[in-house]
């Protein structure tokens, strides 16, 4: 096909092309300069609590949790006829919900007004200036479990209020294990004995070892020390022995399959509910699935045979890694008073109990553990022992990065590519450095 048009030299840039590019670039830079100013700062004019308004509540949870939230919202709207609550559904996956919230905060959005925050986020959000300091509303901080209340307190302010608590403990089969172990050595021997006796058991201990946040909570529940005094140098003998135990459970004692290095709560749940393990480390939702009304036929192997205790610790002070959700208010929200009303409602005993009974979310308010609750769901009594040992993960704005380091460390130990002590000594300086960046900067 012949061209009748002249060939291009291709060497000189057309003037028009350059000018278009220049305009685009200038425009982009201008937008960038405007858009990237820090999104923290004071909120606009505040709407009083008595005025008619709509607040946006960003929360996770579909299924029974979603239903429970909807019920609470309806009840709240009945009590406060001038306030409407609009629910913004976040992803059920914690990491993704974090991204979704971060995107809104970095964009300086005034909504959502109230957010559900995983217990490890408030410090990071607060440091970035994205959360309102709720101290001005004088919250009753002593009515909550201290471990969880601490997750919302940062640099003297109160940035989040506990909503419901979670703690990770050791499930054990009451028919196979007569008395729950109090030391790891006893756990090992109990598990091995059970496996020898009952050949239908596939493993002795199921826990979460995949490279994700759950590995850090598992590490902490098994005795890993991450308190402020230790965090500066995690290379302690206590931590080394916990890591060694995690590794030995797989490679030396053979009570945990090597598959645990790919397991998350879902797989541990499957292992537990199908009755193939006498011990499993997991969160309270398993209790409802194992012993709750209407859990059959899925729970048949473990129904009525489920016990739950803090993971044994040789030093005598066991830990249960703290989870759960807090409630916080967007610093840019113009409906902070109404938001506070909503949060207060959700903290009331009646709301807390209602959610606990319908969705299985354990109350974060101490007074909600009352006879009403126990009548409807007796296993909450047993859960209290675990919550008493609830230990929060580090409350620091760089927790996400610290966690990433810990996840890498645990993962490399479980896969056998690092020895526990080497992994600890390699990770400790990085964590120390992360802590120093936030201590010195902003």
């Amino acid at each position: 096909m012949r061209r009748i048009t002249p060939r291009l030299s291709g060497r000189t840039l057309p003037r028009r092309g350059i000018s278009v590019a220049a305009i685009a670039a200038t425009g982009a830079i201008a937008l960038a300069a405007c858009g990237s100013s820090s999104s923290s700062g004071a909120a606009g004019k505040q709407v009083p609590a008595s005025a008619k308004q709509t607040i946006v509540f960003a929360t996770q949870g579909l299924g029974s949790e979603g239903t429970a939230t909807a019920t609470a919202v309806k009840a709240f709207e009945k009590l406060h006829s001038n306030i409407k609550v609009q629910i913004l559904s976040l992803s059920p996956t914690s990491d993704v919900a974090f991204e979704q919230l971060s995107q809104r905060f970095t964009a300086g959005s005034t909504t959502p007004d109230v957010i559900t925050s995983d217990v490890i986020w408030p410090a990071q959000f607060a440091q970035s200036g994205w959360l309102a300091n709720l101290a001005k509303f004088h919250p009753a901080t002593s009515s909550y479990f201290p471990g969880q209340m601490a997750t919302g307190q940062y640099k003297g302010g109160v940035y989040a209020i506990p909503w419901f608590i979670n703690a990770e403990g050791l499930y054990y089969r009451t028919d196979l294990i007569k008395t729950p172990p109090t030391t790891t050595a006893q756990l090992v021997s109990d598990a091995q004995a059970a496996m020898r006796k009952d050949h239908s058991l596939k493993e002795g201990l199921a826990f979460e070892g995949d490279k994700y946040e759950g590995a850090v909570t598992a590490f902490q529940s098994m005795g890993g020390q991450l308190s402020p005094s230790v965090l500066g140098n995690i290379n302690t003998s206590a931590n080394a022995s916990v890591l060694t135990f995690m590794s030995d459970a797989i490679h030396k004692y053979h009570i945990a399959p090597s598959a645990v290095s790919t397991w998350e709560e879902s797989q541990v749940q499957d292992a537990w509910l199908s009755g193939q393990t006498p011990f499993a480390l997991n969160w309270p939702y398993i209790f409802a699935l194992s012993d709750g009304k209407g859990c059959k036929p899925g729970c048949a192997p473990v129904f009525g045979k489920t016990g739950w205790v803090p993971f044994p610790d040789a030093t005598g002070s066991p830990q249960a890694s703290l989870g759960g959700d807090d409630l916080a208010v967007n610093a840019k929200s113009t409906h902070q008073a109404a938001a506070w009303e909503f949060i207060q409602y959700l903290s009331s005993d009646s709301a807390q109990d209602a959610r606990a009974i319908s969705a299985g979310d354990p109350p974060s308010v101490k007074s909600a553990y009352n006879s009403q609750l126990y009548a409807a769901a007796p296993f909450f009594k047993q859960e209290q022992a675990v919550y008493a040992a609830a230990t929060p993960r580090p409350v620091t704005p760089v927790y996400t990065q610290i966690s990433s380091q810990l996840q890498t460390m645990i993962s490399s130990v479980l896969s056998g590519s690092s020895a526990p002590s080497a992994a600890l000594s390699g990770t400790a300086p990085t964590i120390k450095q992360l802590l120093s960046t936030v201590a010195s900067g902003g």
Binding site: R2, R7, A24, Q124, K211, S261, T262, P397, S415
Partner: protein, 334 residues
């Protein structure tokens, strides 16, 4: 992209021999068309018309690519770390770039990513080529087979990642079940729990989804090659391998180049499957560059660092594309 000066014929299309009549016909038509003041204003009008036609596409794409690019460039030289709001937007020079390297993760991640890219391109190209050759033959059920192998490509990548993660589950997954049933080795491997097997699993998941597309591109390229070329080779007594090497492959070069660039850059920027299957583990052995990029923004809230990594990724992508184009250009000229 073709090497020739005419930018209009892109790679993959062999220029058919122009019939003699066409040239004379077009020049005759051109001569017959009345001109105004010589060919200059006709060209100018033509040019304006052309710009108008091209403008929408260019504007839309500039808006969604150039803008983020410039924004990221700007951000990469400023402090955009939300953990330090008081010094936000301050000019930070090359600090984001130096911290990118001083973190100690960028270079290892780069090597890992390059290694995976080389492996996946090799594997997927070879299998894709075999597949394309097979599908270019006429056989019964060819249509159904073509459709069947294209279907993996219709699944969202993130779902594909989840699917393969469950298939590689050491206790409950299908892979170990099958290996066990066939009494093959590796039947009890914790696939995602060890470095090399984790990479293997990622490679398998990636290949399953992407090889069909490569096969498609190569198949299209194969279809362009006229039959008489093959027949001439057969008459000359060339063996199948010789035919492939000396005739098919050279004529496929444009399609191969497109397929290779596409595949190389996709592998280099891989994220979804790694995120879904391994989250960078075990340890950090599958932590690819795109993952670092994502983590800087979503884990560390440091958009300055994230922007720097984005810029680095874009520059490297350009270099890779340029390498391919140059390599194929010299091939064609030489």
């Amino acid at each position: 992209m073709t090497a020739r000066q005419e930018p209009v014929l892109p790679a993959g299309q062999a220029e058919p021999a122009p019939p003699e009549g066409a040239a004379t016909a077009t020049t005759a038509v051109a001569a017959a068309r009345p001109r105004r003041q010589g060919s200059y204003s006709l060209t100018k009008q033509d040019r304006r018309f052309g710009y108008a036609l091209v403008a929408p596409a260019v504007i839309v794409l500039l808006a969604i690519t150039a803008f983020p690019l410039v924004y990221n460039l700007w951000n990469s030289f400023h402090n955009a770390d939300y953990l330090f709001p008081t010094t936000f937007s301050d000019f930070s020079g090359v600090r984001n770039y130096t911290s990118m390297f001083s973190g100690g993760q960028f270079l290892p991640s780069l090597y890992r990513t390059l290694g995976f890219t080389a492996a996946s391109v090799a594997v997927e190209f070879l299998i894709g080529m075999a597949l394309a050759l097979a599908l270019s033959r006429k056989f019964i059920g060819r249509g159904i087979v073509r459709a069947a192998i294209l279907i993996p490509w219709a699944v969202p990548t993130v779902v594909s990642g989840l699917l393969w993660k469950s298939m590689f589950d050491p206790q409950n997954g299908f892979v170990n079940y099958l290996l066990n049933a066939l009494h093959l080795p590796l039947a009890h491997t914790t696939w995602l729990g060890q470095t090399w097997t984790a990479w293997g699993a990622v490679l398998i998941a990636d290949s399953w989804r992407n090889t069909p597309f490569i096969a498609l591109l190569l198949l299209a390229g194969l279809q362009v090659i006229p039959r008489d070329v093959y027949e001439a080779a057969k008459i000359d007594g060339a063996s199948a391998i010789r035919t492939f090497w000396r005739i098919t492959l050279p004529m496929l070069k444009p399609a191969i180049m497109v397929a290779l660039i596409f595949r190389t850059l996709s592998s280099f920027l891989i994220f979804d499957i790694v995120y879904a299957m391994t989250n960078g583990g075990p340890g950090d052995s599958t932590q690819v560059l795109a993952y670092l990029n994502w983590f800087a923004m979503n884990g560390e809230s440091n958009y300055g660092l994230g922007a720097a990594i984005s810029v680095a990724l874009m520059v490297m992508s350009l270099i890779i594309a340029a390498i391919y184009v140059t390599a194929f250009r010299t091939e064609q000229v030489g």
